[in-house]
Subunit: 311 residues, 3 copies
């Protein structure tokens, strides 16, 4: 019986472990509730709020029979306000639980935490760094739709410069699933970073870059839409934000886009969505973003099982 030691970054997984996770996630879909993790406690330690991610981890723990201690906004509420280091907080909290789910506002938080924690740490997002469970649920969603991740054309659309999810997904695809083509579709100002593009090239992954969704949509198997990161326009910049939203309109997915797409293609989105996918798209069977969010529950159940009960 092996146990996962924690989940810090997407690239920690080898192909076999990824397969194990997806196999376990599929099992979890058939399991409404269980006593597997009875007597185990998970600490949700969120230094910035993320209701969606936090609730999906907590629901995962509850379904497996475990218990949860939780903070929604540790940066505002905790000893952090008194000047305590992340390392000290982790040393203390890790004595109170069997696994820590950490959302941190700065890159590298999860990795620093793991060094000082007595228990496994799961990275639930560390600033502009990683969000590995999102990357896993993205892959799982593609596998569920196509049975494999091979021979696919995957278009990533929108704010590729700032979207953490599309970066992680690109890396994972490059590392483990070589036989696909990636198309980056974005306005000039939010292109995918050159580090990712260089990595794809070094892995011999076919990729293209364009600002024309209309020509890409008809030949894509996956359209992975992303949101303009409003958080970057916080203080008084709502005018600029509105302008960017307006400029991004031609990248929006709507009925017209649907008409041009392949019949068995899928549309993904990490959510929350604002205007970049029309509500009219929701009822189309190719719209998979809500299923994608639900898949997060099964992937997180799988990870908690593999960490706390083994596999």
């Amino acid at each position: 019986m092996r146990k996962l030691a924690g989940v810090i970054e997407s690239q920690q997984f080898d192909q076999q472990t990824l397969n194990e996770i997806f196999r376990a996630a599929a099992e979890m879909e058939t399991l409404h509730s269980s006593d597997l993790l009875r007597g185990k406690t998970m600490a949700s330690l969120f230094y910035e709020p993320s209701t969606r991610t936090r609730m999906s981890f907590e629901a995962a723990m509850c379904r497996l029979g475990g218990q949860v201690i939780s903070t929604e906004n540790a940066r505002q509420f905790s000893s952090k306000a008194k000047g305590e280091s992340l390392e000290d907080s982790i040393r203390v909290i890790s004595a109170y639980c069997d696994v820590i789910v950490l959302r941190y506002h700065k890159e590298g938080g999860a990795s620093r935490a793991q060094q000082f924690s007595k228990v496994p740490v799961i990275n639930a997002g560390d600033g502009r760094g990683q969000h590995p469970t999102q990357a896993l649920l993205d892959l799982y969603t593609i596998i569920k739709a196509f049975g494999k991740i091979s021979g696919l054309t995957i278009a990533m659309v929108g704010d590729l410069a700032n979207g953490r999810t599309v970066r992680s997904l690109s890396y994972l695809l490059a590392k483990h699933y070589s036989d696909n083509k990636i198309v980056f579709v974005s306005p000039a100002q939010t292109r995918m970073g050159s580090d990712v593009k260089q990595y794809l090239t070094s892995c011999k992954i076919a990729w293209e870059e364009t600002d024309d969704l209309k020509t890409v949509a008809p030949c894509s198997d996956v359209i992975y839409q992303t949101r303009v990161q409003r958080e970057r326009f916080q203080d008084g910049d709502s005018a600029i934000y509105e302008q960017v939203i307006k400029d991004s309109e031609r990248f929006n997915i709507n009925s017209e886009t649907l008409d041009s797409m392949k019949k068995n293609a899928i549309i993904m989105h990490p959510l929350p969505r604002v205007t970049e996918i029309s509500y009219t798209v929701d009822s189309d069977p190719r719209a998979r973003y809500f299923e994608q969010a639900e898949n997060g529950l099964y992937v997180r159940m799988a990870l908690l099982k593999m960490i706390l009960a083994g596999y």
Copy 2:
């Protein structure tokens, strides 16, 4: 075996279902804890904080053996801040749980949520709209005191223009319990809305309106006191608020009021109370507002059972 489909508004219930709820609530009073809802998860999704209501729902779920995932202040903490619609949030969260308890800051929130939720929704208050579980616990409190809701004189006192609870209670009384008399007691500026009064008239419910609590108190079976809604005087208007509090003094319930009241009358209040009921009243057996709050636990246990396990 039937199941309740959710709780959106007070008027959804027919007389028979109300009776079932009150019967189940009475059973719940004798039950300290149970495994009935083991393996079930309730999501507390509060877009504005309400510790009292949230805790009573969560305690209800815990007592029945279920588990809870919770957010205290989704408006501040969640994807809402990133511009997500209520509908999208509900579609996602409803994949993580078996029932959603929703407090929303705008009228109609629960009803919109129910349309997009995969699981039943319980309305825990939607702005100036409904708070149906409060209305149910109010009725339950009157039934416990009198064995029936018939032949009673029910005085509603205070800020009737803004109090959600007295409005809902009036509607329910009019619809299901015809043989009572309602007396609205308030200063001129916070009279009960004419919509409610017209509805009472159309249902042939006897009602009166006055600003004199002294003459009403001696002939009332129920005095339902309410609070001046401080939230309406937030920004710098504390002077006006203090004035309203002062003007409302003659509607306060105190030892003098108690002396004039019937021996088996009861005093209710949805809480929180500020100055509108003197602390000296608390020890009088006719003061039922804390029992009323406790009844909320039993009514919510009953609803959760009827929704998740059936009846």
Copy 3:
């Protein structure tokens, strides 16, 4: 079978009860999880946030099989904002749970709460007042290290004027453990209050006061370090705070201090720590502050057991 009636202040315990608590805490260290408190609900009612303390109580309850309803910041989030008294809040919440853990921002909160609560109250800190479970875990940490609390020289260092923990610990030592010597080490502006010093004298406890840690360190068995209370320098006073931090530097514990200390001495700290103990000290076996925090879990499990299940 006796039951603890609640935990309001350190001085409520007689010697025998203290011994029972420490015996039960030791048992709890060997128990990972249990069903002892199954069906019981604890309410965490924190009027000011304290993630560490709250999580350790909630983890304690979870490990014993109980359930938790919780608010992180009741002052901001609750009916308090609408003007409700603590007493009313407690009367309501205590109908929803089997025990209340209360953190209140004003002295005397727990004691006021206990008068109106239907269930036992545990004081998790009331402003500048008491924090009795911290005092208990401090004593427990000393007992674990030395097997007894007798014949020890205990140095309390730093901001003794404002530190709640060192005050409580001094009182408890004076009352129950007479055969020790206490040395107060602080800058002139943050000396231990004269009330505590007078009490020690009246109890015939040997004590000294100095501002020279260098001469005290070599002869101490326990060095109890404390933090400059940053909260006192909130509004724009960060310059003064930085100055105080700088002035306090000579009271910091570092490798040099370690070199001068006894081999079997221990270093304690209530945490969070800022700069007053160097990170290089953490790996020394005499550094016990993280173990001390962990001991809080066992002491709180012991208290919950003694309150809810008896002893």
